[in-house]
C-alpha cells in the first residue's frame, strides 16, 4: 500500500493521541478512566456528525460544482460526464454512504482543478507544511505567553508587568499579515538575516529527499544538516509571526489566572513552608493556573488555523490554510470538502486531547 505523508501524519498523530490517552488511562484514577473511555467513544459519533454536516452542507450551498467548473460553455455531454465522475447522479443517500466509506479509507477524491490530482496527494504536501508552522507557533505562543504571563503576574503593577501587558495587547490587536510584514521588512529586507518566503532555501531544497514533507524531520532523518539549518532558518519569522499573534491571549489569560492562584491559601501555606519563591510561582501557582489555560489551547486551535491562513499568505508558505482559500476561489469542490474534513477531524482530536489533559491535570474533576 502506498503510504502518503498525509496517511502517515494522520496515523502518527492518532498514535500520539493514543499514547497520551493510554498514559492518562494507566496513570489516572478509576473515574478518569471511565471518563476517557466515554470521551473517546463520544469522539466517534462527533466525527461522524462533523463529517456528515460537511457532506450535506457542501450539497446545499448554492453553486453547482459542475457548472462552476466547466463554465457556461460546457457542453451538456461534458457536464453529464463530470456528474458521472463526481457521482452526483446517485441518490443523495448513496452518495453519502459512499462518501463515508471513502473518508474512512482517507480517500478524499480528486481535485477539480490543477490537473485533477488526488486530494490526498495535495494535502500530503500541504498538511505537513501547516503542521510545521502551526505546532512550533503554538509552542512559542503557549511557552512564551504562559511564562511571560506568569512573570508579569509575579511582578504585578511593576514596569515589567505593564510592559508585558502593553505588549500582549499590541500583538493581540495587530493584524497578522501586518505583523508578518513588519518582521519581514526588519529582519529580512532591513537586516538581511532572515528569509522572508518559503520553507527552505531553493538550492538546499534540491539536495533534500522528501519522505514526510515535514522538512525538519526529513532533513534530520536524512542527515542533511544544511537543509535542517535552512528549514529552521525559514521557520523563524513565520513561527514568530503566528506565535506572537497568539501569544497575546496566553499572556493575558496566564497573567490573570496566576494572579488569581497567587492569592490562594495554599500559596501562602507554601511560602510559610519556606518553599522558594520561584517554585511557589512557577510550580504551585502556574500549574494550577494551567488548568484553564489547557482549555484555552483547545479553543485557540480554530484561531490558529485562521491565523495560519494569513501567515501562510504573507510568507508564501504552501500550507493547508492557503490551499483552502485558493480552492474556494477556484470552486474546487472536492478539495474544499477534503480540507474541511481534515480540519474537522483534527479539531475533534484536539478537543479530545485537551479534554483528557484537562481531566488528567485536575485531579478534582470527577467524572
Amino acid at each position: 500500500m502506498h503510504i502518503s505523508p498525509l496517511t502517515g501524519i494522520c496515523a502518527s498523530s492518532l498514535g500520539v493521541a493514543l499514547l497520551l490517552i493510554v498514559y492518562a488511562f494507566v496513570r489516572g484514577s478509576k473515574g478518569l478512566r471511565s471518563y476517557i473511555v466515554t470521551r473517546v467513544l463520544l469522539t466517534l459519533p462527533m466525527v461522524l456528525i462533523l463529517v456528515s454536516v460537511i457532506f450535506f452542507v457542501m450539497r446545499v450551498i448554492p453553486g453547482d460544482p459542475v457548472t462552476s467548473e466547466l463554465g457556461p460553455r460546457g457542453t451538456p455531454q461534458a457536464k453529464e460526464r463530470m456528474r458521472e465522475q463526481l457521482g452526483l447522479n446517485d441518490p443523495i443517500m448513496v452518495q453519502y454512504v459512499k462518501y463515508l466509506g471513502r473518508v474512512v479509507r482517507l480517500d478524499l477524491g480528486t481535485s477539480l482543478v490543477q490537473g485533477n490530482r488526488p486530494i490526498v496527494d495535495e494535502l500530503s504536501e500541504r498538511l505537513p507544511a501547516t503542521l510545521e508552522l502551526v505546532v512550533p507557533a503554538m509552542v512559542v505562543a503557549v511557552g512564551f505567553g504562559v511564562l511571560s504571563g506568569t512573570f508579569a503576574a509575579d511582578r504585578r503593577k511593576r514596569p515589567s508587568d505593564y510592559g508585558l501587558r502593553l505588549f500582549s495587547i499590541t500583538v493581540y490587536s495587530m493584524p497578522i499579515f501586518w505583523l508578518g510584514l513588519i518582521l519581514q521588512v526588519i529582519f529580512g529586507v532591513g537586516l538581511g538575516i532572515m528569509p522572508v518566503a518559503g520553507r527552505i532555501d531553493a538550492i538546499v531544497n534540491t539536495t533534500l529527499d522528501r519522505y514526510t514533507n515535514l522538512l525538519v524531520v526529513d532533513s534530520i532523518i536524512t542527515g542533511n544538516w544544511a537543509a535542517l539549518g535552512s528549514s529552521l532558518h525559514h521557520l523563524v519569522l513565520p513561527v514568530l509571526t503566528l506565535g506572537l499573534a497568539l501569544t497575546g491571549v496566553f499572556v493575558r489569560i496566564s497573567r490573570i489566572n496566576v494572579i488569581e492562584s497567587l492569592v490562594e491559601d495554599y500559596i501562602l501555606a507554601a511560602r510559610a513552608r519556606g518553599i522558594r519563591e520561584r517554585v511557589v510561582v512557577y510550580r504551585h501557582a502556574l500549574l494550577n493556573a494551567l488548568i484553564p489555560i489547557v482549555t484555552l489551547i483547545g479553543l485557540q486551535f480554530s484561531v490558529l488555523l485562521a491565523g495560519a491562513v494569513l501567515t501562510e499568505t504573507t510568507f508564501s508558505w504552501p500550507g493547508m490554510g492557503l490551499y483552502l482559500v485558493e480552492r474556494i476561489g477556484q470552486r474546487d469542490y472536492t478539495a474544499v470538502q477534503g480540507v474541511i474534513t481534515v480540519f474537522a477531524m483534527s479539531v475533534a482530536i484536539i478537543s479530545l486531547l485537551t479534554d483528557i489533559i484537562y481531566a488528567f491535570l485536575d485531579p478534582r474533576v470527577r467524572y
Binding site: 490562594e264 491559601d265 495554599y266 501562602l268 501555606a269 507554601a270 511560602r271 510559610a272 513552608r273 519556606g274 518553599i275 522558594r276 519563591e277 517554585v279 504551585h284 500549574l287 494550577n288 488548568i291 491535570l361 485536575d362 485531579p363 478534582r364
Partner: protein
C-alpha cells in the same frame, strides 16, 4: 525575660494599607513564647491575632508595614534578608492554616507536599529517604501511608488537617503557629485534633502558638493564654490565672459571653455592649474603653501599658497601673 524563651516579640506593629487608610492591625505588641509551651492567643475576628501569627514568619502581604523585633535564637528575624527568612520558614518556624482544603495545593499529591518541604530545606536528603520520612510521619499522624499519593480532595477534613500538621512537623520546627487550625472542623474531629496536638507536643517537645477565637479550645489545651483586643495585647498569663483570676475587663466580659455546655446553671449569656472598633481610626487611649463597664477618664485619653501586674500575669489596663496625677484627680471628682 525567662531563660526558656524561644521567641521574644518586642514592640511589634503591623499596619496594612487599605482603601480606607492605614489599618493598625497589630499595635506595639510585646510578649515571649516559651520553649515547649502551648500558648493560646485568643481574640475576636479583626483583633490582629492572625496578622501577628503571620508576622512571625514575615508572610504578611507586601502592602503591610511591619516594625519591631522578633528575637529568635539570638537573632532578630526582622533583620534577616528574604533568603535567610525563607530558610527559617518551615524549618524553624512553621504554620498550620485555618482551612486545610484551601491550604493544600489541589493538584499536588499529599506526599509531594511533604517531600517537597523536606527536600527544599534538606536538599542533601534523597528523594527516596524523603518519601520514607513522609510515610513515617503520616503514619504517626494516623493516616495510612498508602494514601501518600492521594490528592487533597480525596482526604477527609480531619485527614487534611493532619497533613497540615505533618507539614509543620516535617522538619522538626522549633515553633508551630497554628492559625485557627480547628475552625473548619466539626466538634468531634476538633477534639481529636486537640488531643493529637497535645500528644505531639509531648512527643516532639513542640512549642505551639495556638491562634483561635474559640475560648473553650484554649481552655482545653493551653499552658498560657494571651488575649488580644483591637490590635493590642490585653492580658497574658497561665491558663488558670486568665480564666480564674481574670484581670482585664475585656477578658472578663469575653469569658462571660462564652456559651457553656453545662446544663446545671441557667445563667444568661453576658451581652457585651458596642462592637469592635474600626482600626483605621481606633479609639484614643485604651481601645476597649468605649465598651468597658469600668471605664475611667484616663482610659479615653492615654493608652495603658502591658505590665506584669502579678507574677507572670501581664495585663494592659489602667485598673492595674498607676494613673498619672492629672487623671487621678478627675476620677476623684467624678
Amino acid at each position: 525575660m525567662a531563660n526558656n524563651t524561644l521567641l521574644n516579640i518586642e514592640n511589634l506593629s503591623v499596619e496594612y494599607k487599605t482603601r480606607m487608610g492605614w489599618v493598625s492591625a497589630v499595635d506595639d505588641v510585646s510578649m515571649e513564647i516559651r520553649q515547649g509551651e502551648i500558648l493560646g492567643l485568643v481574640g475576636e475576628s479583626g483583633c490582629g491575632k492572625s496578622t501577628l501569627g503571620k508576622a512571625l514568619l514575615r508572610i504578611n502581604p507586601p502592602s503591610a508595614r511591619i516594625s519591631g523585633h522578633l528575637w529568635f535564637h539570638g537573632e532578630d528575624l526582622m533583620t534577616l534578608d528574604d533568603e535567610a527568612m525563607r530558610q527559617i520558614r518551615g524549618q524553624r518556624i512553621s504554620m498550620i492554616f485555618q482551612d486545610p482544603m484551601t491550604s493544600l495545593n489541589p493538584i499536588q499529591r499529599m506526599g509531594d507536599h511533604l517531600i517537597e518541604t523536606i527536600l527544599t530545606h534538606e536538599p542533601e536528603v534523597g528523594k527516596e529517604e524523603a518519601r520514607e520520612r513522609a510515610a513515617a510521619l503520616v503514619d504517626r499522624l494516623g493516616i495510612s501511608s498508602n494514601r501518600l499519593d492521594d490528592y487533597p480532595h480525596q482526604l477527609s477534613g480531619g485527614m487534611r488537617q493532619r497533613v497540615m500538621i505533618g507539614l509543620a512537623l516535617a522538619l522538626n520546627a522549633d515553633l508551630i503557629v497554628a492559625d485557627e487550625a480547628t475552625t473548619s472542623l466539626d466538634v468531634i474531629v476538633e477534639a481529636q485534633f486537640v488531643e493529637l496536638l497535645k500528644e505531639l507536643r509531648d512527643e516532639f517537645n513542640l512549642t505551639i502558638l495556638l491562634i483561635t477565637h474559640n475560648i473553650g479550645l484554649v481552655a482545653e489545651i493551653s499552658d498560657r493564654v494571651a488575649v488580644m483586643y483591637a490590635g493590642r495585647m490585653a492580658e497574658l498569663s497561665d491558663a488558670r490565672s486568665v480564666f480564674k483570676e481574670t484581670l482585664h475587663p475585656y477578658t472578663q466580659g469575653l469569658l462571660k459571653a462564652v456559651p457553656n455546655i453545662q446544663i446545671d446553671d441557667d445563667e444568661e449569656l453576658y451581652m457585651m455592649g458596642g462592637s469592635p472598633p474600626d482600626l483605621v481610626e481606633p479609639p484614643m487611649g485604651c481601645r476597649y474603653h468605649p465598651r468597658c463597664p469600668k471605664v475611667m477618664p484616663v482610659c479615653a485619653a492615654e493608652p495603658s501599658h502591658f505590665l506584669e501586674s502579678k507574677p507572670d500575669h501581664f495585663v494592659n489596663c489602667w485598673l492595674y497601673e498607676d494613673i498619672p496625677a492629672e487623671y487621678a484627680d478627675k476620677e476623684l471628682s467624678e
